[in-house]
């Protein structure tokens, strides 16, 4: 399942998701900025295995408990694009 989301006033987010009672595969794409960049893999690992309803808390918590800086997207924008992908089928 795929989705793209242009953050209003921000950058493009996209994702590919596999879901079988929980997220079994996730890849995030886009032209946003995340410092440090390799943290994207940590974010994907946090998302992996979560149920849809667990995503907002898991993703928000991930950013709140880190020093990661985002430009062009906010934490819940990542949730939004994943939910859009889940709703695409």
């Amino acid at each position: 399942m795929k989705a793209e989301y242009k953050v209003p006033g921000g950058k493009l987010l996209a994702c590919e998701v596999e879901y079988d009672q929980a997220i079994t595969g996730i890849k995030i794409f886009g032209d946003f900025f995340m410092h440090p960049e390799p943290a994207i893999v940590d974010l994907e690992q946090v998302i992996h295995g979560k149920k849809r309803e667990e995503l907002p808390k898991a993703v928000s918590g991930f950013f709140e408990n880190s020093d990661i800086i985002l430009f062009g997207a906010a934490p819940l924008d990542f949730v939004k694009v994943i939910e859009m992908a889940l709703d695409s089928e």
């Binding site: 950058k11 996209a14 890849k27 995030i28 794409f29 886009g30 032209d31 946003f32 900025f33 995340m34 410092h35 440090p36 960049e37 994207i40 800086i69 430009f71 062009g72």
Partner: protein
């Protein structure tokens, strides 16, 4: 006394080498083995660079790149896809510590500061340009430069593209726009969003003229003197190591 930074001037290299050089300088600067550095450079062959988080298949028309002999590479910086046209584009990079008095710690502010040097440089040519947050520079309401920054343990690396006389049609063939969609109408729409120095000034601008203007822009903005220099032996060794990474399928196709 005016502070001196190193200028690595107009090296023409392929995509993996250019990206390896930028990262090597940042790594060496981290170990205090190398001075603050500005580079201006060109890519041969022409190349598309994509942002760290971008999907290569979504962003790049790989068949068109193959057809035209255009390299494809992934940057260590975020942001969007860029067409580095050998015949019409200059890339710059800056490496300096975030503790430098002219370098705002705040990332957005530092974009503004560094882009200010490019805007000064464009102004030297007669291009009235302005900063378009987060990371673009516009002229006449159209994009003329895109920029991307990363930080590694207190060292700032920012690189960006300055469109001198880029082939806009080719740009949107190699970036992900299907050939079927490349109608005159679409190209016209694209041309409304992107410009270059030659088009803005409606005159020929040589690479040397653009290079001189950009170098002076950096010197004036950062109150520095740029001294031509070369990579150190250590940096050259790092370039060799990093070239392998940037050339690898695992790196380029990771997303």
């Amino acid at each position: 006394m005016t502070e001196k930074w190193r200028l690595i001037d107009m090296r023409i290299e392929n995509a993996p080498t250019q990206m390896a050089i930028d990262e090597a300088i940042a790594m060496a600067r981290l170990k205090h083995d190398t001075p603050n550095t500005i580079r201006v450079y060109r890519w041969q062959p022409s190349a598309v660079s994509i942002g760290y988080f971008q999907s290569i298949k979504k962003e790049v028309n790989l068949e068109a790149c193959e057809e035209y002999g255009v390299d494809v590479i992934r940057r260590i910086t975020g942001g969007g896809a860029v067409y580095h046209d050998y015949g019409g584009e200059i890339t710059y990079s800056l490496v300096a510590p975030e503790s430098h008095p002219k370098m705002p710690r705040d990332i957005l502010e530092s974009y503004k500061e560094i882009c200010g040097a490019i805007i000064n440089g464009l102004g030297n040519l007669g291009v009235e340009a302005e900063f378009v947050p987060v990371n673009d520079i516009g002229a006449g309401g159209k994009k003329i430069s895109g920029n991307a920054q990363t930080r590694r343990h207190g060292v700032v690396l920012q690189h960006g593209t300055v469109l001198v006389d880029s082939d806009i049609k080719r740009m949107f063939e190699v970036l992900r726009v299907s050939k079927a969609k490349i109608s005159d109408k679409l190209i016209a729409a694209v041309e409304e969003r992107v410009t270059n120095i030659r088009r803005y000034l409606d005159r020929e601008v040589s690479f040397n003229e653009a290079r001189n203007a950009l170098v002076k822009g950096f010197e004036d903005s950062f109150d520095i003197e740029l001294e031509p220099g070369q990579l150190t032996t250590e940096e050259e060794e790092l370039v060799k190591e990093l070239h392998a990474k940037y050339s690898s399928h695992d790196w380029v196709y990771q997303r």
